[in-house]
């Protein structure tokens, strides 16, 4: 009788142990938990993009607590119908990114771009990074749709990267999203060496004309004309561009203040939490730790470097055609990758290193916001060409 009871007790404990994470813990889980902790450290201690890295880092911890998948506990992000799986549908189906774009539109001031519209071309040039990475990814053996999804990391726009990868290569989305956000946080590390390498002292000291005042009418016209011009050419960019410009007209019209405040406040915050958490949780070691993920990280860094270099070199090329006094400081070329506003801040910091009174931030915001439009257009093109 007593033996039976102890056997029962031992079996119970054994079964309980089979439910604990220790029974299913692998080296991969350990690696991913360390990665999550590094994200949290960078976000909290170093203040690198904390709004993104903290929820993503915590999401990585949540996604890498191993459990008995065979028991169908309905707690994993990849288990149909589980809470995390339902929250993850916003990423998988690609409806979080357009909502983030709505908020970005409602908080972005396009005045810098409107006052000096030639800066929009710098935003276009920096998109070369996307296609540089696309070519390298093809050479490494990725399929064209996967290469397109990987290349978009060079657009330095997390929501765009998630949107495109959810459509073109859902199986690589976790790695692409993590790479995109990681490199966006590492913009201060990646960009300055490239900017210094490609410019000389004389170019770094160029002073740009102060931007002119922009009228309210121009600000209202911008989202309308911007939407029509870009989406008539690339309709596949409609979900992102449509929401971006909608957010902006809510801001600039002056009659929808409450809507604009909701879009750039509570709405974008809510979606950022859900997006960060679920993207982080999608990095389950069993699904995430693959050779492809490592390649994607490497390609992401390359695409950022190409994008930065393209922006800087394009400004230098453009300056050949510009009159003295109208020249552009090539240190704002890096801000053509979107990563708003971090890459513009980098222009400012590097510029101030060489001239303490040369403030480039306002000028850099022009190509920076143009980069948002440019990367959404590029995503639309890739989606149009490679989606079936």
């Amino acid at each position: 009788m007593e033996t039976g009871f102890f056997t029962f007790l031992a079996d119970n404990l054994k079964e309980f142990f089979s439910y604990t994470s220790f029974a299913h813990f692998t080296v991969g889980h350990g690696v991913m938990i360390i990665a999550g902790l590094i994200f949290l450290y960078l976000g909290i201690a170093k203040k690198f993009e904390p709004m993104l890295l903290v929820p993503i880092g915590f999401g990585i911890l949540i996604g890498n607590i191993p459990f008995n998948e065979a028991k169908g506990l309905m707690i994993g992000i990849y288990e149909d119908g589980s809470v995390l799986n339902i929250l993850y549908s916003g990423v998988r189906q690609g409806w979080y990114p357009p909502l983030i774009f709505l908020g970005i539109g409602a908080m972005t001031d396009f005045s810098a771009l409107i006052s000096n519209p030639k800066l929009v071309l710098v935003g276009a040039a920096a998109q070369t990074g996307i296609f540089g990475a696309y070519i390298i990814a093809l050479l490494l053996g990725f399929e064209p749709n996967q290469a397109g999804a990987i290349g978009i990391i060079g657009g330095a726009d997390g929501p765009t990267a998630i949107f495109l990868s959810s459509k073109l290569a859902p199986d690589l989305m976790g790695a692409i999203a993590i790479a995109a956000y990681s490199y966006m946080a590492l913009v201060p590390v990646l960009q300055p060496p490239v900017m210094r390498l490609l410019t000389n002292k004389k170019e770094r000291l160029i002073r740009m004309k102060p931007p002119r005042a922009v009228s309210e009418t121009e600000k209202i016209l911008f989202p309308i004309i911007g939407l029509l011009l870009t989406t008539l050419i690339v309709p596949s960019g409609l979900p992102l561009l449509g929401m971006l410009f909608l957010g902006n007209i809510l801001k600039e019209s002056g009659v929808t203040r409450r809507l604009a405040e909701t879009a750039r406040g509570p709405l974008i915050d809510t979606i950022t939490i859900l997006l960060g958490l679920t993207v982080g949780a999608s990095t389950q070691a069993t699904q995430f730790l693959t050779w492809n993920s490592i390649l994607i990280f490497a390609l992401g860094a390359i695409s950022f470097i190409i994008a930065t270099a393209s922006g800087v070199l394009f400004v230098k090329f453009f300056n050949i055609f510009l009159k003295e006094g109208n020249k552009i400081n090539p240190l704002i070329g890096n801000s053509g990758v979107s990563a708003v506003p971090d890459s513009a801040r980098i222009s400012q910091h590097v510029g101030l290193e060489y001239d303490k009174t040369n403030y480039l931030l306002m000028h850099a915001m022009g190509p920076n916001v143009a980069g948002v439009i440019g990367s959404a257009v590029a995503a639309g093109i890739l989606l149009g060409f490679l989606s079936n």
């Binding site: 409107i114 519209p117 929009v120 935003g123 998109q127 064209p144 009418t217 011009l229 690339v234 079936n388």
Partner: protein, 300 residues
């Protein structure tokens, strides 16, 4: 004027509502005429089939609708009412067998397609109004196990589909087609990169040009306005000078003094402060209960 505005708004809403309702919801999506070894019905027969697609975000009931192969008799086959299986979920499909065996059940029509002949299917709503039709060309009808349908579900383009997809997305037929095309024609990605960079530049150059000229126009407009304003000011001050003998400098000096006086009499903020009355219906500070003490009682 206000009435006209209201009428205009109501009319616009009415038109938009009409536009939304007039959008095709149920469509003929794919047809197979020569079914040799393809999709099989529950009686084990390989019969011609018609796939209907619900191209909307809500469920639709096909009960009471009509299918026909005769343009002069659109009400040839009535889809049974009251069968819950005729409800199509959003973006879902329903397959009918065009085998001429209506007594087999709701999903078997009373007309049959013959392989090798052009075949047309008409879908009519309960009032008999034609909603959609699709004609399978003779060439597609001759080939066994090949269907004809929309290249993407609910899309406008139709073609022969080498891989039939009854009850599933037609897109899956073409899945990977773009990949294959790019792998064959553009293995290094140069073609895609050049095209895409050109398109990005085209879109943003257009934006640049539009805002370059819009900006110039606005700058000119504001110059004109300020010129006109300064002219008016000059005219007014001239008139004032002639009438009252006060020069512009005097006016400016008076204005400066008034401004300084206002600044001195006011603290530093120049924004308008709005103080809203906060009506609190209850507060412990005005509660009588809190202001009263208990009557002392002698305890024995």
């Amino acid at each position: 004027m206000k009435i006209w505005k209201r009428i205009l708004i109501v009319t616009m809403f009415a038109f938009s509502a009409f536009g939304a309702s007039a959008q095709a919801k149920l469509q003929i999506n794919e047809i197979m005429v020569n079914n040799k070894t393809n999709y099989v019905d529950r009686y084990g027969n390989h019969s011609p089939w018609i796939e209907i697609y619900n191209n909307s975000g809500s469920s639709a009931n096909l009960g009471g609708w009509y299918l026909s192969d005769d343009p002069n008799n659109l009400k040839k086959y009535l889809i049974t009412k009251g069968d819950r299986n005729t409800i199509i979920g959003p973006r879902q499909f329903l397959v009918f067998w065009a085998d001429g065996n209506a007594f087999y059940g709701t999903f078997h029509t009373n007309f049959r397609f013959e392989p090798g002949r052009e075949a047309t299917v008409y879908l009519a709503d309960p009032s008999g109004k034609l909603i959609d039709s699709m004609t399978v060309p003779e060439m597609a009808s001759m080939q066994p196990n090949v269907s004809y349908g929309r290249t993407s579900d609910g899309g406008s383009k139709s073609a022969v589909l080498e891989k039939p997809t009854p009850n599933i997305n037609n897109e899956s037929v073409n899945q990977g087609a773009a990949n294959e095309r790019f792998k064959t024609n553009d293995p290094w990605g140069a073609g895609m990169s050049i095209t895409a960079v050109m398109v990005v530049f085209l879109a943003l150059i257009l934006l640049y040009l539009v805002f370059k000229y819009t900006g110039k126009f606005h700058v000119r407009l504001s110059h004109n306005k300020s010129k006109a304003k300064s002219k008016n000011t000059a005219a007014t001050s001239a008139a004032a000078n002639s009438d009252e003998g006060i020069s512009g400098e005097v006016v400016a000096a008076i204005a400066t003094v008034i401004y300084q006086m206002q600044s001195n009499s006011h603290d530093i903020e120049n924004a308008i402060l709005t103080i809203e009355r906060q009506a609190a219906n209850y507060s412990p500070w005005n509660s009588k209960i809190y202001g009263m003490r208990q009557t002392p009682q002698l305890k024995k």
